[in-house]
């Protein structure tokens, strides 16, 4: 193990709690969880089994992911650490929009959710011209709605705004 690589980032503890190591730990947990899940797959009776059981192939893949991840952990401790740039506030706000969007789309209206998300993204990303923001964020989803509904024949799910159009 290369001890210098820890010194660069402030010792063993900081290396242990780095975001990259957390990701590698997550991959371990993810592969173990799915590996355990494969034991709950239904089995094909031996007389009907063609080649291998349905659970075998995913097990091989998960074993591969687990082993390759072990290699990554080894590389992590044996190679100089990379510095990852911190996320901007705008990034977190955008992720927040990603999380809220499906809730509004499902519970209220898809088109309304698209309009609100567009307004929020445009605003958080720095567009201060409110009129331009509102115009683009309202007009573009309506145009896309009309394109999909009228030209491509797509039926949008019911909601406050879509019901107004369909009724």
């Amino acid at each position: 193990m290369n001890s210098n690589s820890f010194e660069k980032k402030g010792g063993f503890l900081s290396a242990l709690f780095s975001s990259e190591l957390i990701l590698l730990f997550f991959i371990f947990c993810f592969s173990i969880f799915l590996f355990v899940t494969t034991f709950y797959f239904d089995e094909v009776p031996p007389i009907l089994v063609r080649g291998i059981q349905p659970a075998t192939f995913p097990k091989i893949l998960l074993g591969l992911i687990f082993s390759l991840n072990l290699l990554l952990v080894y590389f992590y401790f044996s190679r100089p650490k990379k510095d990852y740039e911190k996320q901007s506030r705008i990034f977190y706000k955008t992720v927040g929009i990603f999380i809220i969007f499906p809730l509004i789309a499902l519970k209220v209206d898809l088109i309304l959710a698209l309009m609100l998300s567009s307004i929020a993204i445009t605003y958080f990303w720095g567009e201060k011209n409110l009129l331009l923001n509102l115009f683009l964020s309202i007009v573009f989803p309506i145009l896309v709605f009309l394109l999909f509904e009228g030209v491509l024949g797509l039926r949008f799910p019911p909601g406050i705004l879509t019901n107004l159009y369909y009724n």
Partner: protein, 489 residues
Amino acid sequence: MIENLSYMVAPILSSKLLIILFLGTLFGLILGVLPGLGPTTGGALILPFTITLDPLSAIVLLTAIYCAGTYGGAITAILINTPGTPAAAATCLDGYPLAQKGEAGRALGMATFGSAFGGLFSVIVLVFFAPILANIAYEFGQPEYFALAIFGLTMLASIGEGSPTKNLIAGAFGILLSTVGKDVMASIDRFTFGVNELTEGIGFIPVVVGMFAMSELLVQSNLTNQIFERIAMKAVRLPSKDDFKYCFKTILRSSGIGSFIGILPAEGGTVASLIGYSEAKRWSKKPEEFGKGAIDGIAGAETANNAATGGAMVPTLALGIPGSATTAVILTGLIIHGLRPGPDLFKEQPEFLYGIFGAMFFANILFFIFGFFGAKIFARITLIPNRLLWPMIFTLSVCGTYSLNQSFTDVFLMISFGIIGYVMRKFGFSVVPVIIGLILGQLVELTLRQSLVIFDGDWTLFLTRPIVVTFFILSVVALIFPNIRKKNK
């Protein structure tokens, strides 16, 4: 053969296909000049819309976007020192310095000529090599297909500049995604966790749009303060007689390099342009000018990345193994239209395949014309602020993904894969192997299981077939090669 070649003119004989070709080329150029978009993300965005088209029109649209988008990256590389596509990164090295010297028109002229020449050269390679490869593949049985798919997947290790180990994990994750839903042979639910919508499996569109478009949106959210400075230019100039004489050998060499690199599964325009550039420097009469505005540097990189487009289509169409990220999107387009590329497609639908070859040929001519006369206008597109562009892409992504199955689950999956894709990219995992893994996953599992039925469950019998052993050896080489390349760097 002559009859098949006559199918190549289909795209210009049908007014509908001609319009699609025209629009695809135009759209591809716009996508190519917009940093962060490019032909892969753009192709992913347009994919749901192609459902309403017939298969030939859909693939003509996607291939036109592919050819024009690959070239479009050069415009921004030269004028704003920002490659519109990763494949144009090497073009920045000499294109921008030349533009700074007031020779932007000359640089763009060489990039346009080299790209079109490389693209046309690669279409000829495609027309001759794809049927030969398909004929060879016609003799393949299930074990050979399994070994070929494994070879294609191990080639993922060398994608991009990232770690081979991370690329392989991403590829395995993609294959794992393909196992979600009903088992292909025994109709048993796997990884559905009681969600009914997952029994049909995870669709290509939510993963492709999420991994490419949504993850890029999150990447762009960290770059909202980026301001591009565009170098002014008068007009694109065709290469002068001297430039043409000086660069012609480089253009020919890069056409060969690009086509060859493109044929290798999972390699693509980015690798081709880097090799094309470094070879141009190695053979140049004035290597000391590289990095300061060498015209042969632009020719080397740009010719190679467009030559890779036709090359990458060879394994995609002949074997069903994507040659690059964008061809993975095109392959997805073929699959969602119910077509599985491979030798059977060559035997059964030559008019379809040669129509695609023809579309690529004419797309290269079209983008040459558009690029030559409109590069100045296309460069202005980069001035559209991200804060106005990306909300529109978000709207298109959501509606496009929803439209396929009219399912909210697909939209949730698309957003989730956007976040997963972003995290992967942040930590150096390429998202391309996930897509290729998802596409090849079913083929790998099915051929493995069918092979084991043939071998009566004896795994060692794989080693009794020479083609299988050859592919396994090539797979080992493909795994070792990226490490050697990294060490040499």
